[in-house]
Assembly symmetry: C4
């Protein structure tokens, strides 16, 4: 026990010095950087979110969900590199916005966490981010056909879903968002929207709360499935901007949001609280 | 116990006064409004119907099924606001046709229960209503392509399936049927038909019995799935009106209806009685 | 016990007299008509076949599979009217080829058993028949597009799959094959083929053995699914008649047939023997 | 025990003499040919690979996966003829590259094992081979439309996926690769690529390690599913050759490969080690 305290103290000092050097951390955070994640409700929900997204096939072996740190808006919390289906509380790690890990165990983080950090940096209104490769979205990402909300439950995805292509600025890569520079380019394309597609890759979803992020990611996929079928038989009519705005407010209200959250928790076998 | 009786009595008085004011309630109903729902076979089937519709993915987080109250044709019974997959007997509530709840516990009802009340009001031949968002229906609802019965098991959906668009009369809304005025507009479009589609939203199904409503809602979805595929390879030939009429009579006869009900109960893990 | 013996004896006499009158039954069959179905391997396989076809979604609430009676080629064995997913040994009944039931319990038979009787009557080479409504077949049945074997595992469905329309001879009906006259019309369209589609309804599959019937029914559905997708991206090339002939012989050989049977039994949770 | 030793010794002698006659085996292998397969990690993974491929529906009743023998590069190891879903360690058999079985029990091998032997013979860089009939691949195999990597997770399938037609050289057959001559013709079409399609049949996947083979086979299917949908709504843009090369390196790196392997093992209920 004393050795782990020693490790924690050394990690604390290292992180604190690095943070001081970066000029990014207020003194109070020094103590916090070494603080383990308590089993508070927000983090339990983050684990639940991982399981739900996996169960609904919004994510598969790849993909991740994060939460802006309730204790420090310049940090975020997400799992170490592990499939969402398998994530447990012990897998959660705190990160600085630029992606530096605050994990005492120094476990391998997701290579694409910069997506999350860059969105939190650009969007003070966002507190939860999902990055996923849901298959139904990919035909839109590789053909450039516009994905738009057709059905009321999908109003939560917002009126406009831009398409980002990593090659526009970064030319030929392995397609992954590995740096803050790439993350910021994606965040710039996302703008003030809720969702953006990533060419040949997947999507990013950004909302004010974790429950909203999960629901929006699920219905982004559902809308894509419906739109694929609709385009095969005719020209689908989209919801108008006013319909999207009013419906989104209703679908994100506690009545609807909590009913959906309870339903998806039950399906994934997780506690809905 | 005495306090809940007191609550029930106060609720009874309030409801009764309101009902008297509305001129809608006969004296005998005063006593009934406070009567708890007994575990009679019709209500057990209503719970089973919820579970079957969820299992067959006719409904998901959203959607609901109701039954005209066997004790009072001006009332109907449905669950409080909860996903059908999770509904239990204790969730069932009685409603006046105009949507006023007779729930002693005053629990949150479905926001769109007016769909049900308006259909019961307009159709004395209907005793069960399903409202759902089955994904296969939505491409038809957003393209205006006509959904029509192609296969004999789907004759139960009827010959004609009109499309209702809330915006025609109510302009831009959050797409939900929140008032009796909107419900009556939908019921007017439904007319004497079994099913109607709702643009960018889903469908309503209205039949004489609960088993018929469940079977019709399931095969409405199946027919849509088959029609989507058929339209991709050619021009599907629909059943003629005479074929629909004769086949529907057969498919709704006890022999076929009970075989299907038993099958879907078994799949959903509920008692088929 | 004596009363059921009495019932059985009376039933025996009735059946025997009717059989004598029809001139269709040899004296030895009199004793057999009252004999209960022994739990021999062929009948156990018939129960397994029901479960496999349900598990693979070749049948759903509706559909049935039968076996020519090993003891009397002018009879066949199938379940009473019940969804295949639920069929048990006790549900099996013997039928005369014309559809008359030999069930001492006089339980409700499948309304469309005439499909089976008519095929056995027309085809001395056939000993097992499946009637099903697999959804992937229905787009072909309502558009008239030709379903043909594209993939080697589906060579078992044969080179040619005719389409039968009940309305050609019987005009407007409830679409069900209710009489031997209708069954014989379907059998005439089936001809010497393994499969035939039924407009707006489903298909019939007829083979020499029960295992072959189950495998052919499964791969008829698979081939349809592949063909639907292939037709969406180009013009599919079918197997040549010689390829169908050679591949079918291989796919129906014990090596391949038994491997497939064992696999589908395992999936359905039934004993493969 | 002594009789089985006697059997093993006789089998050893027979195999050794045959091997000597063929001039293909070095003396040290004589002892090895009779050595039973030890439960080493590579063979446990081979069993796991079978189960994963079945669970992900990359294979069904048919299809197989093999491993180049870690002890002798001129041999390979795969199961006896059995559906991958059911394969257990005891089913594994060693084969000479030309397909001759080294199974003391002389159990029935897969009829198409020559696919594996021919690929190992042609490709010294390949140590694992999958042959499968995944349904999403078949529309491409029968229309000649080009399957190409559209999404980054599918970069592992390589830039080019040739199509092999058995009839080009062997005219009309039962479509199975039954001889080394046919296997070599397929291997010639595969060339230096990772995957090749087989007209009206399926595909072959060849990689350096077993984990890579499983992941590539899964994402070959996923890419096909996405491409089918993309082609229905527009003209899909494929990954560039440089993107494929860079992404493949990342996706086959331990970080990504192990995360995917752990995920698919968990889904299939097998130990990921």
């Amino acid at each position: 026990m004393s050795s782990s305290v020693g490790v924690a103290r050394r990690e604390f000092v290292r992180t604190a010095l690095g943070a001081l050097a970066a000029g990014a951390v207020a003194p109070r955070a020094f103590a916090q950087s070494a603080a383990p994640l308590t089993e508070r409700i927000e983090f339990k929900r983050l684990v639940a979110a991982n399981r739900i997204l996996a169960h609904e096939e919004v994510v598969d072996a790849f993909g991740h969900v994060s939460l802006r740190d309730p204790d420090n808006p310049k940090r975020y919390v997400m799992a170490r590199s592990r499939s969402p289906e398998l994530v447990e509380f012990a897998d959660l790690i705190r990160f600085e916005q630029d992606g530096r890990s605050l994990d005492p165990g120094n476990r391998t983080p997701y290579g694409e966490r910069m997506i999350h950090g860059a969105v939190y940096e650009a969007r003070s209104d966002v507190n939860a981010v999902v990055h996923n490769h849901a298959y139904a979205l990919l035909p839109f990402s590789v053909t450039g056909r516009t994905l738009e909300p057709l059905i009321h439950v999908a109003s939560v995805i917002g009126s406009r879903i831009p398409l980002w292509d990593i090659a526009s600025r970064f030319h030929e890569t392995d397609m992954l968002v590995r740096s803050m520079e790439q993350g910021r380019d994606l965040a710039a394309t996302l703008g003030r929207n809720t969702c953006a597609l990533m060419r040949g890759h997947g999507a990013v979803v950004a909302t004010a709360t974790l429950k909203q992020a999960v629901i929006a990611a699920i219905y982004l996929k559902v809308n894509a499935e419906v739109q694929l079928q609709a385009m095969a038989i005719g020209t689908p009519r989209r919801l108008s901007d006013a319909e999207v705005e009013q419906s989104r407010e209703t679908q994100f209200s506690p009545l609807a949001l909590d009913r959906a959250w309870e339903y998806f928790c039950a399906r994934a076998g997780v506690d809905p609280s």
